[in-house]
């Protein structure tokens, strides 16, 4: 099952490159699809037996793809994506399997995705030498956070059938 999120995040990388260059005028405002997917996956799938370690290696290939598509280095993309699994796991640790409801999982995923997307934008902006312009880019940062949280919400809905469930005697 952990291969599913690896494949999804890998497929999300070219989509992310296209979103950042085609869907928005300001790339800082682009939603961060890999971060949204990881947050939603962890919020849906986390349990103490399966603590979602797969979210960590999942960022390696998107970092390579995005770095290769960019003048910015792969290392910066890896550092920019690093808060995504960290925040996804931190959020998911609030989840109690079979107890935590849909609404709370959505809010955890949305919050983690939002913060991870803003961290992604900030790291890449700093790498590009735009640190001084960041205060003026606050609306763009809010937009990336909002967009990513919406994507995370949709992803939680999509992943909902994959959540760990109580098994019956013959289940």
């Amino acid at each position: 099952m952990s291969l599913v999120i690896l494949a999804l995040v890998l497929l999300a990388a070219p989509v992310q490159a296209a979103i950042a260059t085609a869907l928005v005028r300001d790339p800082l405002a682009a939603p961060v699809l890999p971060a949204a997917l990881l947050a939603a996956w962890a919020a849906t799938r986390y349990s103490e037996e399966r603590p979602c370690h797969e979210v960590w290696p999942a960022i390696l290939l998107p970092a390579l793809v995005l770095g290769a598509a960019s003048e910015e280095r792969v290392g910066w993309f890896l550092l920019a994506l690093l808060p995504a699994p960290a925040l996804a796991v931190a959020g998911a640790r609030q989840v109690r399997p079979r107890v935590t409801g849909f609404g709370r999982r959505v809010s955890l995923a949305a919050g983690a995705a939002s913060l991870a997307a803003m961290a992604y934008a900030v790291v890449l902006a700093v790498a590009a030498g735009l640190a001084r312009d960041l205060p003026a880019s606050a609306p763009s940062l809010l937009a990336t956070g909002l967009g990513s949280s919406l994507l995370a919400t949709v992803a939680v809905v999509a992943f909902w059938p994959l959540r760990p469930r109580a098994r019956g005697l013959f289940g």
Binding site: Q16, A17, T21, L23, P27, L28, W56, A69, W76, L78
Partner: protein, 283 residues
Amino acid sequence: MVGARHAAWFTSLLTAGVLLLALSPLPLAGEVELRVGAAVAPAVGAVRDILRPVTDVVLHAGQLDELAAENAALRQSLARAEADLASLRESRIALEQARALVDSVGAQAGATVTATVILRDPAPGRQSVVLNRGAQDGVRPGQPVMGAGATLVGIVTEVDARRARVRLITDRESAIAAILQSSRTAGSLVGTGERLRLDFVALEAQVAPGDVVLTSALGGLLPPGLLVGRVATVETRGQELFQSITVAPLANLDRVEQVLIMTGFVPGATLEPAASPAPGAAE
């Protein structure tokens, strides 16, 4: 235990990121990135094409009348089109754009190569594109790249055998020698991300919005007289030595697809020093 394993992953990836950054100056790293970039370019291009209808709605919200008219025209065009002619039509359009580029640049370009944009930089704050031409087509770092209407769009920064990366003039690391066409005042044209800024223009120089900005041959890094942009705003602050001038690029850099690379231009070429007479030649 669970937390320790997460912490181990975090530390490993953080170290990997820092290591990759430390190794990035190696030529091999740039080559690998360019190759992987070329491999993912078709996928990114396909996704961009799929997203284009959404993009047009999002980016042109508020222009509903224009969109409706454009939509009607597109529907008429679509009705006439047959599916099996679509790829041929694309090829013809690309050829016409390339021919228009060559015609518009004319004799000043010397040897040129047409190229297609296959990848745009997804990183915030970076304005660069990857083209489908490389060293085997005569492309070299430093060569100027032109868009529609013979306007400068950028300069080649990296090249491999079949691809080249172009830093657009609006990139924050772009700086070129420029001159105002009307007053012949020279300045340094630097990218600001979305627009351009003309620096080092003295307070007494005559500059007005609408003035055309051209490339300058100063420094020998660009051919002179290429169109770059138009002066958008001019401000003069009493306490400063230079005017504050913003320039709007003439080319639509967000939508550039076909470009012309001036492969005949050798950046930094200087006049050969006059041959000194051989000793004793006067006798």
